[in-house]
């Protein structure tokens, strides 16, 4: 009886936690179909904000900018991060521990400080133009560490004897990399990319500091919309498109994969 009680309390607390996390997002999604543009009062069902969304070139441009930045960042950060994770796991060298700690630095120091430091560095010291180059460089600094740690985490679960076998059988380094190492690393590469792409796409703080004038990414655009109260309902539309649609896609992939694993 007592155990049942503890379990019931635990379940209630768990549900409350999930409601707290998901409630605001779900409500936001529902209200994107509300005809009142400012509103928290429900008027009537409409899809006109979705039509509005696809007819506002400023938002579409911002989305394309964010997609471009996130794509370049993901490719660069995943490549150098995965390589470093591989090297850190495979080779013993002096300064290995120091490098591991250094890679942690950009994600432990508060974003506002790292981003501010990069702004000062770019404008006063190395003169990298604000805008795309600065944003992409800054994003790589923050996201390459993620790839390093994702890769390090996965390396332990990989069977490395395949690599040794390939070398023993006479394959040269390049062939071994192409045929064995990269395929083995693919899950880590994929996991890193899945983590980095949304991070870069959604980042506000770092972009805000180094964007300069004219490189308004989607989060910056959303911020200015909130600041000047321009049709706040469009934010609901954007939230539905960029949170709920991807989630449904991932859930479907998850369910399909789960089912396949189950039947296999």
């Amino acid at each position: 009886m007592k155990i049942l009680n503890a379990r019931a309390i635990n379940t209630v607390l768990m549900i409350a936690g999930y409601l707290f996390i998901w409630g605001p997002i779900v409500v936001l999604g529902i209200f994107s179909f509300n005809s009142n543009a400012y509103g928290v009062k429900w008027e009537s069902l409409t899809v006109k904000w979705y039509v509005d969304f696809f007819h506002s070139p400023a938002i579409i441009t911002a989305v394309l900018r964010s997609l471009f930045i996130a794509s370049v960042t993901t490719v660069c950060a995943t490549v150098i991060g995965t390589l470093a994770g591989y090297g850190l796991y495979k080779y013993k060298f002096s300064g290995r521990r120091a490098l591991r700690m250094s890679v942690l630095l950009p994600i432990t120091v508060p974003y506002v400080i790292m981003a501010g430091a990069l702004l000062v560095y770019f404008t006063r010291i190395v003169h990298i133009p604000l805008g795309y180059p600065a944003i992409i460089i800054a994003h790589i600094s923050f996201s390459a560490p993620l790839a390093v740690f994702v890769t390090l985490g996965r390396m332990q679960r990989i069977n490395w004897s395949l690599e040794e076998a390939s070398v023993d059988l006479g394959a040269d380094t390049l062939t071994t990399w192409r045929k064995i190492t990269i395929p083995l690393l693919l899950p880590a590469i994929f996991a890193s990319a899945v983590l980095i792409f949304p991070w870069s796409f959604n980042d506000f703080t770092v972009t805000y500091f180094v964007a300069g004038v004219g490189t308004t990414t989607l989060p910056l655009y959303l911020y200015s919309m909130l600041e000047y109260s321009l049709k706040p309902v469009l934010i609901n539309v954007i939230s539905l498109i960029f949170i709920i649609v991807p989630i449904i896609c991932i859930l479907l992939v998850y369910l399909v994969r789960g089912k396949r694993k189950h039947t296999a």
């Binding site: 768990m14 707290f20 997002i25 630095l105 430091a117 560095y121 796409f201 911020y223 909130l226 939230s239």
Partner: protein, 294 residues
Amino acid sequence: MAASRIKTKIKANLNLFLTVGPVSLWILLFVFAPVAVIVFISFLASTPFGDILPRFSIENYRFLLFGESEYARAVLRSILYAFVTNMACLLIGFPMAYWISKYGGRFKAFFLFLVIVPSWSCYIIRIYALKQLVGYPGIVNDFLLGIGLISSPINILYTPAAVILGLIYIWLPFMVLPIYASLEGINPALLEASLDLGANPRWRFLTITLPLVKGGIFGGTILTFIPALGDWLVPLLIGGNRVWMAGNLIEHFLVVRGKIAMASSMAVILTAAVVLLIYMFIKLGGEESMERIV
């Protein structure tokens, strides 16, 4: 013999250079160098308009720590907010992690996924969602008015309570994950043994489970306390211009007022606080709290 040994050595070094090299160079150029520049600038004097003078000075630090500046108070306030946030995340997050670990069954991954996913989406959207829900006019207020629990609307926006609520909302997922990982790492034999030896479930929870997830709790603390301490976006969006945390002052001095030297000193002070706190948490939580982060 010797030649081939040298050759393998060169090859090993080349491999090392090709794998670890790019990130090392990147970190050196775009993480260490900017931080070094900030630290250097923080010790320079500047004119009242913010132009930097090439002269050593600790005036910034003296002013920030002992002078008329409100920065010291803002840092203390940030630490307080971060502490409250962290405790609330622990209270909300622990039962979630515990439930998933104990009753999740074959849907464990799915439940975890539901915790993580919102943190992948845009901050601004999430804070706006929260704001729309708890603000006035807002759904929570309408509901409470409707059922007659309150007679006049409560407006918590632009108050410290709203900022803390926002911080909890944003950082909660990062408390659940490390605690869950810790709970999963507990050897079930220990729990059975304690039951066999006559412990009741509550006693078992307090004496076996809780000490064993200490590392996870401190890992989660590092992942929620530290980012909450340095947060500036939540106070900006949900606190208006009325509740300032340390990060807001740094942004204000750097971007709005262009006082780079002063902002740099602020950044160094806040970083020092962060490093000190992380060190403390790792000391308290042991090596495991470090492992649970990455």
